[in-house]
Each structure stands twice: as structure tokens, then as C-alpha cells.
């Protein structure tokens, strides 16, 4: 297990290195001068040159990269031009919206997809199976942000049950905050649920066809026990794989849903920063979210090793 862990951690470090290089390349190497982006077209060439020097942009690129990564590793993502505060503190404060939204949507996704997928598999080629498959096709086709708009239209505009958006923070209590996140989480989770439901169905179907399941049935083991003791555990690896990948996608998806429901999360922070030409904030948010997605993917990889010893010895 230790060797497996070391290999995965080494791969993670290499991947994070590439993530940082990609972000750096887009900002510093592609045509486009960060100083000019920040200062805007109305700034004079002298002011741009002064800013370039102040930001250290006149140094060689490898030196700039090493300096930037060194600071990022210590949690320093630079300083916001718009708010004049450290980018890391901005990211952390906005994470109080994005992270619960992602987790809530993930919870909805798993709570809906896994039982439905299992239900469909146990009723293979019967009506419940066809209904689940049709629902999942619909789920994949309906964009989360449109689902969000339709939910606002129904629950806010028509029924008046909830606000159409906004977030008052966690200071007012847990329930009001969670209530503000419910609709966006449902809209976000619905889109991702479809893929997980299909995966669960396929995985359970595959295990149900295994010889040992037939043997268990032949020995008189009850269907419930066959399903929960013999099938689900073995079907868990593909389900976890997809759920893990989906969690990263949910984080990216929450950036869009935050705009639909006017939630002050990482996505709206980055979008606002683009209008304000606040390059360090965009760079910091992108680096943070991309690194989180990569780490989630590696965590899922490590979980395989824990769940299935065969994988550790590959």
C-alpha cells in the first residue's frame, strides 16, 4: 500500500506542477501583457512600464514562475487589485459558498443516482429500467443553468416559495444558508445525477451476472442480501470512480450556478475580477479550483487501492 500511495502522490505532484505551468503560460507567455491588462487601454506606456517593474514582470520567465509558485506554495496567491486584500483570503471567504454548494449538489446526486441505478438494474428491461434510462438521458441533455432558471420560474416567480437568489451568509444560522443553496444544488446535482445513475445501473448489472452471485442465489441467499452484501460492494469501484470525477465537475458547475442564483462564491468572484481586470484574482481562483479537481481525482485513485487490494499490486 505504501508503494502505491507513494506512486500516486508522485503523480499528483507532477500533475500539480503541470497545472501551475499551464496557468502561468496562459497569463505570462501567451500574447498579452499582464501589466497592460491590469492598467487598461487608457494607461500610458510609462505607467505600464512602472507596473511591469513593480510586479517583477521584467525578470526572466523561469524566475517569475519560481517566485510565483514559491509564494503560492506558502498560501500567498498575490494581492487583489480591485479589493486590495490577499487573493487567498478572498478565495477562502468565497469558498464558504462554493464548497457547501458543491457538497450539497454531490449529496443530491448520490442520493438520487445510486438508489435509482440499483432499482433500474434489478428491474432490467422492465418499465422502471426504461423510465430511469429516459430520465438519465433527459438529465444529460438539460443544462444545469437552464434547470436553475426553470426552478426559479416555478418556485420563486410562480409559487413565491423561495427567493430567486442571493445568500445572506452563515451568520443568520445554518438553515437559512442551506435554504439559499437548495435550489442551485438541485439544479446542479440533477445534471450530474444522470451520468452516475447510468454508471450505477451498468455496474450493478455486470456484478449481478457474475458466477458468485448465481452461486449465492443457488445456495438460497435472499435477494436483499445478494444485492447489498454481494453486489453493491463489488459494484462500488466504477460508481466511486464516476462520483469522484463528477465531484470535480460539480465544483466547476457551481461556478455557473452561482451566476444563476447570484451567490457570492468563487465563480462570481472570478467573473467580477474579469470585468475589473483583476488578473491576480482570476489566476488565483483558477489555480485553486484546478488543483482541487486534480486532488479529488487522485484521492479517488487512492480510494481504489483501499477498496480493492488487487489494484495496489498492479
Amino acid at each position: 500500500m505504501r508503494r502505491y500511495l507513494l506512486r500516486r502522490v508522485a503523480a499528483l505532484l507532477a500533475t500539480l506542477f503541470f497545472v501551475s505551468v499551464l496557468v502561468f503560460i496562459v497569463v505570462h507567455v501567451l500574447p498579452g501583457d499582464p501589466a497592460l491588462i491590469i492598467i487598461g487601454p487608457e494607461g500610458s506606456p510609462e505607467a505600464a512600464a512602472r507596473l511591469r517593474e513593480a510586479m517583477g514582470l521584467d525578470r526572466p520567465l523561469p524566475v517569475q514562475y519560481a517566485d510565483w509558485v514559491g509564494h503560492a506554495l506558502r498560501g500567498d496567491l498575490g494581492r487583489s487589485i480591485q479589493y486590495d486584500v490577499p487573493v487567498a483570503s478572498l478565495v477562502l471567504s468565497r469558498l464558504q459558498v462554493t464548497l457547501p454548494l458543491t457538497l450539497l449538489a454531490g449529496g443530491f446526486m448520490v442520493a438520487a443516482a445510486v438508489p435509482l441505478g440499483v432499482f433500474a438494474a434489478t428491474r432490467h428491461r422492465r418499465l422502471p429500467d426504461y423510465v430511469t434510462m429516459a430520465l438519465s438521458q433527459l438529465g444529460v441533455a438539460v443544462p444545469g443553468f437552464w434547470a436553475g432558471l426553470l426552478l426559479i420560474l416555478l418556485f420563486s416567480v410562480r409559487l413565491g416559495w423561495v427567493q430567486s437568489g442571493g445568500f445572506d451568509g452563515w451568520g443568520q444560522g445554518v438553515w437559512p444558508a442551506v435554504k439559499s443553496l437548495l435550489l442551485p444544488a438541485v439544479a446542479l446535482g440533477f445534471f450530474q445525477f444522470a451520468v452516475l445513475a447510468r454508471t450505477t445501473r451498468s455496474a450493478v448489472l455486470e456484478v449481478l451476472r457474475e458466477e458468485y452471485v448465481k452461486t449465492a442465489r443457488a445456495k438460497g441467499v435472499g435477494e436483499t442480501s445478494v444485492l447489498f452484501r454481494h453486489t453493491l460492494g463489488n459494484a462500488m469501484i466504477p460508481i466511486l470512480t464516476v462520483a469522484g470525477i463528477q465531484l470535480g465537475q460539480l465544483m466547476a458547475g457551481s461556478i455557473i450556478l452561482e451566476s444563476v442564483f447570484y451567490l457570492p462564491g468563487l465563480g462570481r468572484l472570478a467573473l467580477g475580477a474579469i470585468s475589473a481586470r483583476d488578473l491576480p484574482v482570476v489566476q488565483g481562483v483558477v489555480l485553486f479550483v484546478a488543483s482541487m479537481i486534480v486532488m479529488i481525482n487522485v484521492a479517488v485513485d487512492i480510494l481504489y487501492g483501499v477498496l480493492d487490494p488487487r489494484i495496489r499490486y498492479e
Partner: protein, 309 residues
């Protein structure tokens, strides 16, 4: 790390219908068998529904190039935010522009983004996957870590970063979506190359003096095409969804050009006044994506029945 994929990484489809020298291509089969193949495609319900919807999308886009009921950019202050009527079949937007005409024109944007983004992802991804799978070693390891890193950049993140450096535009959304597709095409091609590079017909061609370029281009690459075609079909609706999302955020198509995502963004402020404004562009996205997904699923079943669920 071994040259093979991690066993539980999302597995790309194994190439199907691998043709070895001496076997007949589908085109080379007898006429009766060719008919049987065509009939199988028509009888496949998923494929047929998907094909019809996709055909309708293409026809709508083509028609919009020569005819729309109204000029999609023509404004009418007196006819703002109307519901469906004889004059405007799907109603009007906040500037009195005809929604049907704008949705028809938006289909062209969606198809354009789908084709270019998938083209970027496929073109570069297949190239990297070929080199990775054929040569292996450190090159393979490096490329695969790069692909892992790119997997951390869904289209939305790349678009945010590029929009900050350049200006938000349709071109940026195409590149961002295309880049997000790189890993899946690269891994799929790599897996096929790993499978085929040591097969007898490749070894035979090498023994007969074929060089690396000939082996790749004439013997291995053609066999990797079926799963790549299926993947391209599956990626196309994903690109359409991503373009709609980016345009919704203001990172893709810019006003006044019609785009389904942008129309949804503009409709949000008027949900109470004209709900149809949000319903029709969203339905256009959902039906299009549904059709393309069904087509992709059907195509996968037809090209590789082993994978059908």
C-alpha cells in the same frame, strides 16, 4: 508507472472493428451484407431518433443561412417581450427581436462551436495520444501527466483564464472547450496504439521495412478510428452545452449575435414578464443535446455492440 492505463482510470473504449490486412472493410462486403448493415442502423430506435433530431438541427441551421421569419437583429420597441403569436411564433425578446429567428440563427453558432471545439480536441489529442502510445517511455509519462493536469481544467476554468488575459469571445470559448477535450482523445488514441503496436500485422509490416510514419499512418491509425468517431459524436453535444454555459456567463458569444446560452442569460431578468423567453432557447439546447446523445449512443452500439449497456 506502467505503460498501460491505470486499470480503473476512466477506460476509453477499446477499438472495435480492427481491420487486419487481408480482411474486408465494410465497404468491401457483399451487397446483401451491406444492406443488412444499413437495415440494422434504421431498426436501431435510439440511432434513428438521434439521427432525425440531428438532421432537423442541421436543416434548421442551413435554412437560417438563407431564410429566417424575421431579421434576427431587427428590433421593435413596441413589440417587446411578447408571448407566442401569429406574427412571432415563439414570441419576442426585450428588444422586440423575433425569438424563432434568433433560435434558428443560434443553431449555426452551436454547430460551429461543436465542430471547431471537437476538431481542436481531436486534432491535438490524437496527435499526442499517437506519440504517447507508440513511443512510450518518458514521453508517454510526461504527456499523461500533462493530460491529468488538463483534466483539472474544465472548459469553464480555461475560459475564465483566457477571458481575463484576452477578451471574452466565441473564439476563446471554442479553444477552451477544445482544450478540455484533449485528454479523452489523447487517452483513447494512446490505448488503441498500445493495443495495436505489438499486433502481428504491425510487426509483419515493420519486418517488411515499414518506417514509424508508415506504421502509424497506414497500419495503426486506421484501426483506432471507430472509437474516435464515437467519441467525437459523444463530445459534440458536450461542446454545445459548454458553449451555452460560457455564453450564459458572458465568456462566449457576445451580443447582439444570437446564441442559445446568451439568450437564456438575457431572459433571466424578464422571467416574470415573458417566461417563454427562457423556455424556448433552453428547449432548443435540450432537444439538440438529446438528439446528439441518442445518435452517439446508437452509433456506439452499431460500431461496437460489446459496449451497449
Amino acid at each position: 508507472m506502467s505503460r498501460g492505463l491505470h486499470p480503473l482510470s476512466p477506460q476509453p473504449s477499446p477499438p472495435s472493428g480492427a481491420r487486419e490486412p487481408g480482411t474486408l472493410s465494410p465497404q468491401g462486403r457483399g451487397q446483401g451484407e451491406g444492406w443488412r448493415h444499413r437495415f440494422r442502423a434504421v431498426r436501431h430506435v435510439t440511432f434513428t431518433i438521434g439521427f432525425v433530431i440531428t438532421l432537423a438541427l442541421l436543416a434548421t441551421a442551413a435554412l437560417s443561412l438563407v431564410y429566417t421569419p424575421r431579421d434576427p437583429l431587427e428590433m421593435s420597441i413596441s413589440g417587446r417581450l411578447q408571448g407566442p403569436s401569429q406574427a412571432h411564433r415563439l414570441g419576442t425578446d426585450q428588444f422586440g427581436r423575433d425569438l424563432l429567428s434568433r433560435i434558428m440563427t443560434g443553431a449555426v453558432t452551436s454547430i460551429l462551436v461543436g465542430v471547431i471545439a471537437v476538431g481542436i480536441g481531436m486534432g491535438i489529442g490524437v496527435g499526442l495520444g499517437m506519440l504517447s502510445g507508440y513511443f512510450g517511455g518518458w514521453l508517454d509519462e510526461g504527456f499523461m501527466r500533462l493530460m491529468d493536469a488538463i483534466q483539472g481544467f474544465p472548459a469553464i476554468l480555461s475560459a475564465l483564464l483566457m477571458a481575463a488575459v484576452f477578451r471574452p469571445s466565441l473564439a476563446i470559448s471554442m479553444v477552451a472547450i477544445g482544450v478540455a477535450f484533449l485528454p479523452v482523445f489523447a487517452r483513447l488514441t494512446r490505448a488503441s496504439f498500445l493495443e495495436f503496436r505489438d499486433r502481428e500485422f504491425v510487426l509483419a509490416a515493420r519486418a517488411l521495412g515499414a518506417g514509424d510514419v508508415a506504421l502509424i499512418a497506414r497500419h495503426i491509425l486506421p484501426n483506432t478510428l471507430p472509437p474516435l468517431i464515437v467519441q467525437a459524436t459523444i463530445s459534440f453535444p458536450v461542446a454545445i452545452l459548454a458553449e451555452a454555459a460560457l455564453s450564459y456567463l458572458g465568456l462566449g458569444t457576445q451580443p447582439p449575435h444570437p446564441s442559445w446560452g446568451l439568450m437564456l442569460k438575457e431572459s433571466q431578468a424578464f422571467l416574470g414578464m415573458n417566461p417563454w423567453y427562457a423556455v424556448f432557447p433552453g428547449s432548443a439546447i435540450a432537444v439538440t443535446v438529446l438528439g446528439l446523445n441518442l445518435l452517439g449512443d446508437g452509433l456506439r452500439d452499431l460500431l461496437d455492440p460489446k459496449l451497449s449497456g
